[in-house]
């Protein structure tokens, strides 16, 4: 009989049909749905995460794996109505005011979603006030901002200042990225983190949510 290893391998290969098939067969043979999720589907996505980080998988392949995993989760949900897929945390993401470049930001959003985060993608050209609003509404763990232009990167600081003014800066972690951004710049404007690429951004989010104080986090 196909086991967890098969399931995780099918996720890794982005083989949706096989994921559905193996998930069903595991559930039918009485395996605990939580084990199917954790030992099969999520284990598969974790392997994907490692390979992506090491430049051994392409983005479209990761997306196929995520799609396959989600298909598996749907099968579990069908069997067990009350089941909710665990989320690693909530992320609000957008490009800053004046910046229309969303391909990198969308990549990051996709990779975070694939890794198990709940992502609120605000889009492009987001005013500081809009970020503040989104934080109030979604109560995320992380606010992620991107800028591709050296002329718009300066607006990151404004957004952080707006969060401070609204008394929200301590309640979220702010991370930034984009071609012109450096760690120094992140430090300078008071961001909590910087990631040079999509794989590291996901990694960074994982570290930040692991490190968050459980007390005081809006839930």
């Amino acid at each position: 009989m196909a086991g967890f290893e098969d399931l995780s391998q099918a996720v890794l290969e982005g083989d949706e049909a096989r994921v559905v098939e193996v998930t069903k067969s595991l559930l039918d043979s009485g395996v605990d749905p939580l084990d199917v999720i954790n030992k099969g589907l999520i284990t598969g996505m974790d392997r994907v995460g490692v390979l992506f980080k090491n430049n051994e998988m392409f983005v479209p392949e990761v997306l196929m794996s995520a799609k396959a995993m989600n298909a598996g989760v749907e099968v579990v949900k069908e069997k067990q109505q009350a089941f909710d897929m665990p989320s690693l945390g909530k992320v609000v993401i957008g490009t800053v005011r004046g910046d229309l470049h969303d391909i990198g930001k969308n990549l990051v959003a996709m990779m975070m979603e694939s890794s198990g985060f709940t992502v609120y993608n605000l889009g492009v050209d987001i005013e500081p006030a809009k970020f503040v609003e989104a934080v109030k509404e979604y109560r995320p763990d992380i606010v992620a901002m991107s800028a591709l232009l050296t002329t718009t990167m300066m607006n990151m600081k404004e957004t952080i200042d707006a969060l401070k003014e609204a008394g929200l800066k301590d309640k979220v972690k702010v991370i930034i990225g984009g071609a012109p951004i450096t760690q120094e710049f992140a430090d300078e404007i008071g961001a909590d983190g910087y990631a040079p690429d999509a794989a590291s951004a996901t990694e960074l989010c994982k570290q930040l949510v692991e490190g968050r104080e459980k007390v005081g986090v809006p839930a």
């Binding site: 479209p60 996709m110 889009g123 002329t151």
Partner: protein, 475 residues
């Protein structure tokens, strides 16, 4: 309204591999001051831009100071190194295009200093002015109307009147769809974005730019697929998407970028279009290219091969930041001048040696990356020869992608190109995706519109009707 091409290309302008070489274009372009591009000499094209800073009314004095400092440094270095001539490109930023007055001022600061060096020291130079395609700043963008568009055209016109020698743009029609296609590596969306949206938008845009150039006596340069295939190149360099996908994407941009010349542009084509060699092969226009000496702006796998049939050699873009020696624009100027010296020196020894140099530039890269492989001069002529047989740009785009896959596969088989197993796999995926694209453009649009996010772009701005889609989804 219809925007009809004024030219069609039924056969190759470059007749043989031995005529396909750097410095020489079938249809050279002569500028007002007598400089000839594509007439035997490769010239450096230096691009300059601001360091990280805000641009607004209060920072404009500093903006002016920055450009004045950069152009002085560049021209002084070009003079010290006895450059036979130099092209300066200013890519205006969104802010300096949206407020035409600012772009016009910057254009004038540069041009005036260039006139001064030409008059005082005999240093010949040309200014290429490239306004930003600011239409994409509102989403979904208005492509054929509105204040952004009118300000962009004003910037073109006034800069040309003030002496900008060459007009260019990196237009963005279809970019929203292409971005989606890239991230998911969906060649169907890519072909639609380039062969339908890009082509339609460029016909509109270039009818107007060619008209402005004609009226002001400046040169209509060209329009690169920078926002498209260079995004793919950057993603491939970051190992986000397969290199073969980026290579196929590059070849698929040919019919789109060719539209500028069908509408009456004459070249020199702009630097950041690695599809440039195809433009030269098909339309015979001189081209600017960029490679290793543009590493300051982006890393690539085509550092040498990009030079092998260029007529100008560029640094793509560099910010006015200080390096140990000098500001970065001065550093780029020096590097480009030496690169050009070497190519011109080899060519001065005779055509056979220019061809040798060309082949070394090509062969040093072409086996290592499919994006380099599709720039091999023989590959360029082969694919170009097939593409001129196809009149319809949408079908030509589909064909270009298919030819790219085919040529890359053959290259691997012949041992001329090394590809990892995970790259090879994608050639088959792209092939089978391509097979699902119908030959009827309307039918393709009907199929595809269901998959596209119409919040990001407006079909009517490309003369496309969504009614069919709505009807279909209402069924």
């Amino acid at each position: 309204m219809e925007y009809k091409p004024v030219k069609t290309f039924d056969e190759l302008a470059v007749k043989s591999l031995d005529d396909f070489v750097y410095g020489i274009a079938p249809h050279p372009v002569t500028a007002k001051n007598g400089m000839v591009i594509g007439g035997g000499t490769v010239y450096p094209e230096i691009n300059l831009t601001l360091p990280p800073m805000n641009i607004n009314e209060s920072t404009m004095p500093e903006v002016r100071r920055q450009y004045a400092e950069m152009i002085e440094g560049i021209l002084k270095r070009a003079k010290s190194l006895y450059a036979p001539g130099i092209i300066v490109e200013v890519e205006l930023l969104p802010e300096t295009t949206m407020t035409p007055q600012w772009g016009i001022e910057i254009n004038k600061i540069l041009r005036d200093k260039m006139y001064e060096y030409e008059n005082k020291y005999g240093l010949k130079s040309l200014l290429r002015c490239t306004p930003n395609d600011t239409r994409e700043i509102v989403r979904p963008p208005l492509m054929r109307r509105g204040e952004l568009l009118e300000n962009m055209f004003t910037t073109f016109e006034k800069c040309a009147e003030d002496g900008a020698d060459i007009l260019s743009i990196e237009s963005t029609g279809g970019k929203e769809v292409h971005d989606e296609g890239l991230v998911t590596c969906d060649i169907r969306k890519v072909v639609f974005a380039l062969g339908v949206l890009g082509v339609r938008d460029m016909r509109f845009l270039w009818s107007r730019i060619v008209e402005i150039a004609g009226r002001t006596g400046s040169i209509a340069g060209g329009d690169t697929a920078c926002g498209f295939a260079n995004t793919a190149l950057a993603l491939a360099e970051q190992e986000m998407i397969p290199r073969v996908f980026a290579a196929v994407d590059r070849v698929a941009t040919i019919p789109r970028s060719l539209v500028a010349f069908e509408m009456g542009a004459t070249g020199p084509d702009k630097d950041c279009g690695y599809e440039g060699p195809y433009m030269k092969a098909i339309a015979g226009v001189p081209i600017s290219m960029e490679g290793k000496t543009a590493a300051c702006a982006h890393l690539s796998a085509v550092g040498n091969i990009a030079a092998c049939v260029c007529d100008m050699w560029s640094n793509e873009s560099v910010q006015n930041v200080k390096l140990l020696s000098a500001p970065a624009p001065v550093v780029s100027t020096e590097q480009l001048i030496y690169d050009c010296r070497l190519m011109n020196e080899a060519a001065a020894d005779g055509r056979e040696f220019a061809l040798k140099m060309r082949d070394w530039l090509a062969d040093s890269d072409s086996s290592l990356d499919p994006q380099a492989y599709v720039l091999r001069p023989d590959v360029v002529l082969e694919i170009s020869g097939e593409l001129v047989k196809e009149k319809d740009p949408f079908l030509a785009t589909k064909k270009a992608a298919a030819l790219a896959v085919e040529v890359i596969k053959r290259g691997v088989e012949k041992g001329e190109l090394n590809l990892s197993a995970r790259e090879k796999k994608w050639l088959d995926i792209i092939s089978s995706q391509l097979e699902t694209i119908p030959d009827d453009e309307e039918k393709f649009w009907f199929e595809l519109q269901k998959e596209l996010d119409l919040n990001k772009w407006r079909p009517e701005e490309y003369d496309l009707e969504v009614a069919a889609a709505k009807a279909a989804s209402a069924k």
